[in-house]
């Protein structure tokens, strides 16, 4: 009975995983197919792979766009993590006047629909002569990422018993040292979670990127959308580019997977 249950459970898990992974598999396969194989009905699963799509992708503007995406996402994530955890720590550890209101205000920035601010942002950045620059997108992404980081990190800091920090204070550590040497290491899972979500959010963002960049600072999602030409869509190229674009996130997720699992289950620390 127990074994049956276990088999059923594993079966269900595999089924769900397959369901979610199938599109991914499809894209990976498509990236190695020729145009003809791509459009074959019924689809072929066994074929002679070609690297032509990847070669085409690397010859296009795509590597530059990926670089832009990575620079913008990494910068905005680093800034958001630093400012976000400091702010969260402040909210968590010090009594701040109208703290609840301020926290809600920060959260409300995340509820803002991007479409509502596209035009004002465009005008502001045009006035600042920052259109089509990395800085513009970094700043804009920080807006949503910081508020996210504050909320997630505050939860993690709240979970750290105050006594751990008091013990360090008695040992002669100054408040900044207590933050760096006690609070941050204990909120590792929160840092990993926040980093992943900020990265994904910044790498995937499309609307603001397409509005605020034209060429120099164009990000990968914008570039991908432009593969659709008058000549139709080059699905092979698009698939290859998508696969390349997925790699950094996959690598990072694998690196921090342990922290991430703890982070998602909201770090039950003991």
């Amino acid at each position: 009975m127990k074994i049956l249950k276990r088999i059923l459970g594993i079966g269900l898990a595999l089924f769900v995983a397959a369901l979610f992974l199938f599109p991914l598999l499809w894209v990976v396969l498509a990236s190695f197919k020729t145009k003809l194989e791509l459009l074959a009905v019924p689809p072929v699963f066994i074929f002679k792979p070609t690297l032509q799509n990847y070669i085409n992708a690397f010859r296009s503007d795509f590597p530059m766009q990926v670089r832009n995406s990575l620079i913008i996402a990494a910068s905005s994530t680093v800034i958001s993590i630093i400012l976000g955890s400091l702010t969260a720590y402040g909210f968590s550890r010090y009594s701040i006047k109208s703290s609840d209101f301020l926290q809600f205000w920060i959260l409300s920035l995340r509820m803002l629909p991007a479409i509502a601010v596209v035009v004002p942002f465009y005008l502001v950045f045009r006035a600042l002569k920052l259109l089509d620059t990395h800085i513009a997108l970094i700043l804009v992404y920080c807006l949503t990422n910081i508020s996210f980081a504050v909320w997630v990190m505050k939860g993690f800091f709240d979970e750290i018993p105050l006594e751990l920090e008091e013990a360090a204070m008695l040992d002669g550590y100054s408040p900044p040292q207590v933050f760096l040497r006690v609070a941050l290491p204990l909120a590792r899972a929160g840092l990993a979670t926040t980093t992943i979500f900020c990265l994904i959010q910044s790498l995937n963002e499309f609307l603001l990127a397409v509005s605020l960049t034209t060429r120099v600072a164009e990000t990968a999602p914008v570039g991908l959308s432009k593969v659709q030409t008058l000549m139709g869509v080059d699905w092979g190229l698009l698939s290859a580019a998508s696969v390349i674009f997925m790699i950094p996130i996959i690598i990072f997720t694998i690196i921090v997977r342990n922290e991430l699992v703890r982070g998602m289950s909201f770090g039950r620390m003991k």
């Binding site: 018993p161 006594e163 751990l164 008091e166 013990a167 360090a168 204070m169 008695l170 040992d171 002669g172 550590y173 100054s174 040292q177 006690v182 290491p185 204990l186 590792r188 620390m269 003991k270």
Partner: protein, 366 residues
Amino acid sequence: MARLELEQLDCWYGKTHAVDCINLVVEDGELCVLLGPSGCGKTSTLRMIAGFVQPAGGEIYLDGQPISHLYPGDRNIAMVFQSYALYPHKTVREHFVFPLIPAKIPGPEIEERVKEMADFLDMHDLLDRYPSELSAGQQQRVAIGRALIRRPRLFLLDEPLNNLDEHLRVEMRANLRRMQQDLKITTVYVTHDQVEAQALGDKIVVMDMGHIRQIGSPQEVYLYPNDLFVAGFIGTPPMNFIPCRLERMESQVVLHNSHFSLPLRGNLVARTASLPDGQELILGVRPEHLRVRSQPAEGTMPVEIYVLEPQSNELILDLKLGDLLIKARNDKREFDFRPEVGQQVWVEFLQDYVHLFDKGTEQRLA
């Protein structure tokens, strides 16, 4: 090693007066126990000494120097927290090293001190373990080691035995006492457990509602409680309280209430000499100062056995005296009969140990 002095120390949490202008001196090398029920202000006092809470008024002196304006880390005070406050991401060795870093102790000496502390606590085999891999007793030793490795002037303990099971608690209690006496370190120990306080303290400070009710040696607070609160808080089972009135009749002084009358004898007569006739009193007598007999004798009172609570070597009897229930605690060997529930027996008050409290002020009169 240091002498700690609290002067008019005051603390408010919002509208709660947590500590109300207390004065206290802890002598060099002394172990002072702050004892009281939860919310009595004992932990707040400790936290003010450590520097986590800023006092609303008053001053804390360590070796004559005011320290209440200092950052906790600049006071050279160490503390063992109730939860031990161990870092889940650090090994035992790292716990020992951690306090030595801000103190700028040179590397070789750090090694030496860690080794010394591991010897002292018998923890050599555990140095590379994480707190989650240690038993509760071992965790506590790590917390003590981390606190003492800096060689602080003052050692604070906040209910350190609370998280241990009964058996370990008694063992660690003795260890703590031994350690404190070996190191001769001035210590403030917070607990709500009066047995622990009796066992450990050189000096017991009984607190209630932010006030100090009594300061004294374990014997003093047990034998001569200042007021009803201290009398009721120290000792298990707690002291019996019987409301009564003092009456002088001819040559006799008698304590009266509707169910009993107790003619006073011996030095209790002298102790009550200054009390006016008709004074409303509360008689306090500890369960161990009642003797239960099967036959009436001089100065005994008839009572009915209501409940029997046998202990390993003692018998606790709940006795019905009119509508009052009083407890007696006697050595089993003292009984020359087999007590049974419902049985009529006679109880004798050992008058040398009877206390009289003023009904209004609750202060001890005699």
